[in-house]
Symmetry: C2
Subunit: 406 residues, 2 copies
């Protein structure tokens, strides 16, 4: 049995790194705060006798050897980076529950047949550089290392520079190695488990997504002297596109997701008609066909709006992925573990993207969800109970050990 | 006759301070770049034997004594601060043409009857702290010094701190003193003079304005897991209010002005439904009654939009002023000077706010406009011809000397 108290203490100790006044966490990927989180994690791993390796995109792997040197490792983990004003559990739960799995095996003096690899993936959130699931995406070969290295944050710092700055451009190649399975525990980040009073979500897959970078280009001019007919207001065009995204989402009912989360206005001065606006757009849906339709329709309708405002629109598709089903055998291990432990459980499709989505392209994968208060995440008020964390970690332990010893 | 070449050289020398790669100027009020501009201006004034005083809000006054110690001074000037990506002439023309008036009087060995005061007003643009015409507003008693001191920029720096930081919180009281008249030369910043081929605009007054600070408050949440019905998206509400501002402007035809120029999204992360948006709103109209109507209608309609999106809206009115007519006698001096010099001239109402608007509440005031290319201002591409600057400075010289010697 895992030690729920020790797991909670680790979660709270990690949450001190980048703690915000409102009780959340700001541990943006590849910042110095992230470096401190990584370092604490590495020290904890090394104290258990695990060997920590870092690859060229900064993914961290902590290995526990198995009895059979010929067996491929069973992987598990999540991410330690956070949103700008994120919660204490999004990502950290999966990594530190993985650490608790390792600690428990040490306590019990157990050696699994297959080796184990606990992973902390780089830049899961995507907030800083625009690609969510970056480290796992490179590892899985979804996009090349050089493309990831070249991504830049709003200050112009590249991923490559940021990795060098915190000393986490590691010597290992950033590419997948043969592995037997991957398990990821994560908070649901939505309301379903809480509403139904379930402790465990058996995640069968993740919904499809498409993300864009958008730039509207009009002309800066004086707010007091420029008559309506002479305006090329990039912000008015952007506002109408934001409204379009919301309407396209709602047209798809409760399964629709459409969000503009990031906006940068230039010159951003009260008495200047804005000449340029940079913003993000994303849509998600459980049905890949809906995402394909949105990916075709949105650019067309957005461009018509921009044209109507006399401004230019440039859309760059950042990524698009289909609904990703998880591996039935791995999913079944999660189902069995929850049943054996007597937890209330249900099947669920992930609304969020997770590193598991990309890892699943290379390795049989499954995920475990636990509830969070009011379904709230990407918010400093994100909150879970210690017994919820414990239940998730216990299921992770059982699934990992079962797979590694099969 | 003023020296057009010397004036142009001064304009170009000032434009070096805060020069941007695209040929504009970034000399935000009370920054170190502004300090360098002020210092160059003070040195030029002192080289002419003028005495420079600084008041408690950083307004600079360079005095040339008259023959009659009993006469009130004739004031003239403008501002040296700029927009974040502003032009070389917005404000600088009026200050440096004033300097050229002083230089020409020195060259000619002329002493006017009344003393002369050349002014550089603090923070005309309003971009950094939210109040345009700040220095002249405090001087004219439109709002108290302490209120101005307490205004903060987006980084949280107050006007008081910024004045201390650049050493421009001067010993003179920041309040109006008896003056005989105020003249301000400025580029039109609009298309009218250029379109009609006129060299001089005889400004009869300035249009009415109302400005707000707005905050929409919703709830941060995960873009992938939060269903449409559970969203409190502060940005969608803001987008619809931006659209409202544009529609309210257009409903008033070509005389309407309505602008959102500043937007700050929190947490501004691609995959977070935005929980808070801070933005600016302003309307302008030549007819004060229209501004009164807008000031009543806009809050009502904006609040209805916010409510419909399930988010809160807080509106803070920053200032509101009526159409400001200028002094008929002073205006007439401008008209006569333009006619005497043979320049094509027309009457015009100012679309922009100017320090002259507030000064006019204390002192008989007039303004002189000169054309600018494509009517473009608050843009790095703002452009005028040397002969246009010369014509404006010549009219300023004639009007000031006529008034000071009457
Ligand atoms: N789990 C999580 O919040 N991931 C961030 C990536 C996304 O789903 O946008
Ligand atoms: N002249 C000028 O651009 N003033 C800025 C204040 C305003 O009109 O918004």
């Amino acid at each position: 049995r895992i030690d729920g108290r020790r797991l909670w203490d680790s979660l709270m100790a990690m949450a001190e790194i980048g703690a915000t006044p409102k009780g959340g966490v700001r541990r943006l990927t590849l910042t110095d705060v992230d470096r401190r989180g990584r370092q604490r994690f590495a020290e904890w791993c090394e104290a258990l006798g695990l060997k920590v390796r870092v690859d060229a995109i900064g993914n961290m792997f902590a290995r526990r050897e198995g009895r059979d040197p010929g067996r491929k490792p069973v992987m598990f983990g999540s991410h330690l980076d956070s949103q700008p004003s994120g919660g204490k559990f999004d990502g950290a739960l999966g990594v530190l529950a993985g650490l608790e799995v390792m600690r428990t095996l040490n306590d019990l003096g157990l050696v699994t047949e297959a080796p184990l690899e606990l992973v902390n993936w780089t830049d899961e959130e995507g907030s800083r550089f625009g690609h969510s699931l970056m480290g796992s995406g490179v590892w899985a070969g979804v996009y090349p290392l050089e493309k990831a290295y070249g991504l830049r944050d709003v200050e112009g710092v590249s991923v490559s520079e940021a990795l060098d700055a915190i000393g986490y451009k590691g010597p290992e190649p950033a590419q997948s190695f043969p592995a037997d399975a991957y398990f990821e525990l994560h908070i649901e980040q939505g309301p379903i488990l809480e509403r139904e009073g379930k402790q465990i979500g058996i995640v069968t897959g993740a919904q499809a997504q498409v993300w864009w970078d958008a730039v509207c280009t009009g002309r800066d001019s004086h707010a007091g002297t420029t008559p309506p007919s002479a305006r090329k207001d990039a912000l008015v065009a952007t506002a109408r596109i934001i409204d379009l995204v919301d309407r396209m989402m709602r047209a798809r009912g409760e399964d629709g997701r459409g969000t503009v989360g990031f906006v940068q206005v230039l010159p951003n001065s009260r008495n200047v008609v804005p000449g340029e606006v940079r913003f993000s757009v994303e849509f998600r849906h459980p049905d890949t066909a809906e995402i394909e339709r949105l990916a075709a329709e949105f650019p067309r309708e957005a461009e018509a709006i921009a044209r109507g405002c006399g401004v230019g629109l440039e859309l760059t598709e950042l990524f698009r992925f289909a609904h990703q089903p998880f591996d039935p055998e791995c999913v079944d291990l999660v189902r069995q573990a929850a049943a054996r432990l007597g937890y209330g459980a249900r099947e669920i499709v992930s609304g969020a993207g997770h590193d598991a989505v990309y890892v699943a392209r290379r390795v049989p994968t499954a995920m475990i969800f636990t509830p969070c208060k009011d379904g709230l995440s990407h918010n400093e008020a994100e909150s879970i109970l210690p017994e919820e964390a414990e239940a998730g970690a216990q299921v992770l332990f059982e699934a990992v050990v079962a797979r590694a010893n099969r």
